[in-house]
């Protein structure tokens, strides 16, 4: 029975490694064809971000961020005042 387990282990590990090695290979091959698209997508995203910044339009979360920072500064000042 233990011999059967050893055989199964050998088969199983070979299959798992071959499957994932082939997967790595397929990812690398698809990367060769598709990575250009990813680079373009990233460039477009960055360009859109730059345009938004140049226009000076606040981002969706900027208002919240300003409110949070102001609240933190106020709390800090209050604490300083308390300490004297």
């Amino acid at each position: 029975m233990i011999v059967a387990g050893l055989k199964l282990t050998l088969l199983g590990m070979v299959v798992v490694f071959s499957f994932l090695l082939l997967l790595i290979l397929s990812v690398k091959i698809s990367q060769r064809f598709l990575s250009e698209g990813s680079v373009r997508e990233l460039a477009e995203m960055e360009a859109a971000e730059m345009r938004r910044r140049r226009r000076g339009a606040p981002g969706p979360d900027e208002g919240t961020l300003v409110a949070v920072i102001s609240a933190a500064i106020a709390a800090h000042r209050a604490r300083l005042r308390e300490r004297g």
Partner: protein, 429 residues
């Protein structure tokens, strides 16, 4: 005269109607009168239908049906305590603990044909439907980006599956050495899959190969998954030195939408060609992932990630809990399974770390060996453990995203391992 005739006709009609209504009443009164026993005997008979009697004097006369049931209720309460008090995998342990409670109510027969929990088990778990639906939800929640960006880390996910197979051998050795433990090859395969650290895969494989062990294996798998932050760190520290733990990895590249859409189809294509037996698991996993990445079925993707997986988890937990009966749980084999489960997790963790160290020797890009342990699936807990240990050595070294690569590769790896084990039935001569 015509008026009197009409009256007579009406009276006759009412009389016939009353007669028809009275007939069954008379008949039933006769039978219930015959069945009623004297008061003392009635109370005695009623007492026999109470739970107290069921626990103390089980119908079969075997202790496992009486006191064993009480012990199982204690186990169910312990599971509920761990889930609610300690927050150990509460999403599964609460329904599972409660399923165990329901299954052990004496005389209610909820796990017998006709009982609700019986049907939940038969329909959802015995058929393998529930674990596969959960797996689809997991697919819809998984981002393969970190793995696609650094594909070689997928090898760590392969190495960590070593835990599955060494535990399989361990189960067979235990079966040979310890009297009272008798695991066949199917049982050993089901126990080994605990090392895959993937609940749905473990439940699916066990329901197909050895359904009798389902309760114990599911409890072991989910308990140890909750204990990943306790089991893994000592092994990771023992196998690495402080310099290795400080290794910084190169920034991951951006992975575009098209690459992410193509990925699930490529994986399923490989599965189709190499290992069709794994296609239920990998197929549902990749279907969920495609819904997430394609961007045109957001409603379906959100449902799969939230409502559907939640509904199925409730019934999966109840169904698995219903298999926790005294006769199948309170024995030496369960102790063996719990022991082997922790060994499976430990070996999986160790082999992932060792593989990372080995790859570091040959690879030009540095790999922090701490991410090797994330190969044992348990998404995203194992990756968080890598991150935590990385920060301990170097507070600015963020390993989480790097660890997600082997982590999601581990899910594919354990599904492939399960696919190999599912072919066992064909491999036996």
């Amino acid at each position: 005269m015509p008026r009197r005739k009409r009256f007579a006709g009406k009276t006759l009609g009412v009389a016939i109607l009353l007669l028809i209504m009275a007939l069954p009443v008379a008949a039933s009164t006769e039978t219930s009168d015959a069945e009623l026993a004297p008061m003392g005997a009635m109370i005695g008979e009623f007492a026999k239908t109470t739970g107290v009697f069921g626990f103390l004097c089980p119908a079969s006369g075997h202790w496992t049906d009486g006191i064993g049931g009480l012990l199982m209720i204690a186990v169910a309460l312990l599971m509920l305590y761990l889930a609610i008090g300690k927050q150990f995998e509460p999403l599964l342990l609460v329904p599972m603990g409660f399923g165990c409670l329901l299954a052990n109510i004496p005389l209610a027969g909820m796990t017998d044909p006709g009982g609700i929990v019986y049907y939940i088990y038969e329909i959802g778990i015995k058929t393998g439907v529930f674990p596969l639906l959960v797996f689809m939800g997991v697919g819809a929640m998984t981002d393969f980006g970190p793995m696609i960006a650094n594909p070689k880390t997928a090898l760590l996910g392969a190495a960590a599956q070593f835990g599955i197979f060494t535990t399989l051998i361990g189960a067979l050795v235990l079966s040979e050495l310890v009297p009272g433990i008798d695991f066949d090859l199917f049982d050993a395969a089901s126990i080994g899959i605990i090392g895959g650290a993937d609940g749905p895969t473990a439940i699916f494989l066990t329901s197909q190969l050895s359904p009798d062990l389902l309760g114990a294996i599911a409890v072991a798998a989910y308990s140890y998954m909750a204990l990943v932050p306790i089991i893994q760190p000592p092994i990771m520290r023992a196998l690495t030195n402080p310099e290795e733990r400080k290794i910084r990895m190169t920034q991951l590249r951006y992975v575009g939408k098209v690459e992410k859409i193509v990925f699930p189809i490529v994986v399923l294509g490989l599965c189709m060609l190499l290992l069709p037996s794994a296609s239920p698991l990998i197929g549902f996993f990749m279907f969920g992932n495609l819904m997430r990445e394609c961007g045109v079925v957001e409603r379906l993707s959100k449902t799969t990630q939230n409502a559907l997986i939640n509904i199925v988890t409730i019934f999966l937990g109840l169904g698995v809990g219903s298999r926790l009966s005294a006769s199948s749980f309170l024995n030496l084999e369960t102790l063996g399974i719990l022991l082997l489960g922790v060994i499976a997790f430990s070996i999986g963790t160790a082999s992932g770390v060792i593989m990372a160290k080995l790859m570091n020797r040959f690879s030009s890009d540095p790999i922090n060996p701490l991410i090797g342990s994330a190969g044992v699936s348990a998404v995203p807990m194992a990756a968080r453990v890598s991150q935590k240990l990385g920060i301990e050595s170097d507070p600015e070294n963020m390993l989480l995203m790097f660890a997600m690569g082997p982590n999601v590769a581990g899910v594919i790896g354990s599904a492939v391992a399960a696919g190999v084990l599912l072919t066992l039935k064909n491999l036996l001569v």
